[in-house]
C-alpha cells in the first residue's frame, strides 16, 4: 500500500510539474545565462562556442571554461531559449564541425525580462554605491 501510494504521489507530482512548466511563459534566467543569451544575440549568425566564450571574456571580463559554457547552452536549448544547428568544418578545427546557436522568441522574452528587472533595480543606485565606498 505504501509503495503504491508513493508511486501515485510521484505520478501526480510529475503531471503537475509538467503542467506548471507548460503554463509558465518562461523560467527566470541566471546571471551567467543572461550573459550567454546576450552574447548569442550580439553575435547573430556567427555565434558558436569559442566566439561566445571570447565575447563574454572580452566584454564582461568573466572567465569561464568552454565546458561550463556548453553546459549552459545545452540547458538554454532544453528550455527552448536558443536553437542550434551544426555548421561547416574547417582544417584548423581538425575537420570538426561548428555548432551555431540562435536566440529564439522565448529566449528573447526571458532576456528582456531579466534586463528590465536589472535596470529597474539599478536605477538611482550610483550615488549609493559611491557613498558605500
Amino acid at each position: 500500500v505504501c509503495d503504491r501510494s508513493l508511486t501515485v504521489i510521484r505520478d501526480i507530482y510529475y503531471i503537475v510539474s509538467m503542467q506548471r512548466r507548460r503554463n509558465k511563459p518562461h523560467d527566470p534566467v541566471g546571471e551567467f545565462e543572461t550573459l550567454v543569451l546576450m552574447a548569442v544575440l550580439r553575435l547573430r549568425d556567427d555565434s558558436y562556442g569559442m566566439r561566445i566564450h571570447r565575447e563574454i571574456e572580452d566584454r564582461a571580463g568573466r572567465r569561464c571554461s568552454l565546458g561550463a559554457l556548453y553546459t549552459t547552452l545545452e540547458r538554454l536549448e532544453k528550455k527552448g531559449y536558443v536553437s542550434s544547428r551544426v555548421g561547416e568544418s574547417t582544417p584548423e578545427r581538425g575537420g570538426r564541425a561548428k555548432k551555431y546557436f540562435k536566440l529564439q522568441a522565448r529566449g528573447a522574452s526571458a532576456l528582456r525580462e531579466a534586463y528590465s528587472a536589472t535596470m529597474k533595480m539599478a536605477h538611482g543606485i550610483e550615488p549609493l554605491l559611491g557613498a558605500a565606498q
Binding site: D3, L6, T7, I9, R10, Y48, G49, M50, H53, S65, L66, G67, A68, Y70, T71, E74, S89, T90, E92, R93, G94, R96, A97, K98, K99
Partner: protein, 142 residues
C-alpha cells in the same frame, strides 16, 4: 629523439625503482592480503608516476612540435559525446589560429591543458550529478 630517450630512461628508472621497493615490501608482507595490497599499490603507483613523467616530458619537448598535447586529448575523451566534437574543434581552432602564433607553443599547450581539465571537470560532474539525482529520486519513491 630527445623526448623519446628521456621517456625510455624514465620508464626503465621507474620500473627498477618500483621493482626494488616492491621486492623489499613483498619480503616484509606477512599475510596474503598484505602481499596483494603491496603488489596492486606498486602497479598503480608505477602507472600514475609514469603518466606524470610522460606529461612532464611532453611539456619539456613542447618547443619542437606545435600540436595540442596528446594526453590532454586523451583526457578529453571523458567529455560527454554530444559536446566533444564541437568543444575540441573550438579548442583546436583557438590553439592553431590565435595561441600558437601569438604566444608560442608552451603557453598554447598550457592553455589547452587548462581548458580541457576545466571542461572535463564541469561537464563530467554535471553528468554525475544528474545520474546520482535520478538514482536518488527513484530510490526514495520506489
Amino acid at each position: 629523439m630527445k623526448a623519446k630517450s628521456l621517456r625510455w630512461g624514465t620508464l626503465i628508472g621507474n620500473l627498477l625503482g618500483f621493482s626494488f621497493c616492491t621486492r623489499s615490501l613483498v619480503h616484509g608482507a606477512t599475510t596474503p592480503r598484505e602481499l596483494i595490497f603491496v603488489v596492486v599499490f606498486s602497479v598503480l603507483a608505477f602507472l600514475v608516476i609514469n603518466g606524470f613523467c610522460g606529461v612532464l616530458i611532453e611539456f619539456l619537448d613542447s618547443t619542437r612540435n606545435n600540436h595540442p598535447p596528446r594526453w590532454a586529448r586523451f583526457i578529453a575523451l571523458m567529455i560527454p559525446r554530444q559536446h566533444r566534437e564541437h568543444l575540441l574543434g573550438d579548442l583546436e581552432e583557438e590553439f592553431y589560429t590565435v595561441l600558437v602564433p601569438e604566444f608560442g607553443n608552451f603557453t598554447a599547450k598550457l592553455w589547452y591543458w587548462w581548458q580541457v581539465l576545466a571542461s572535463v571537470s564541469s561537464l563530467f560532474w554535471s553528468e554525475v550529478r544528474n545520474v546520482l539525482g535520478t538514482a536518488l529520486f527513484w530510490r526514495i519513491t520506489r
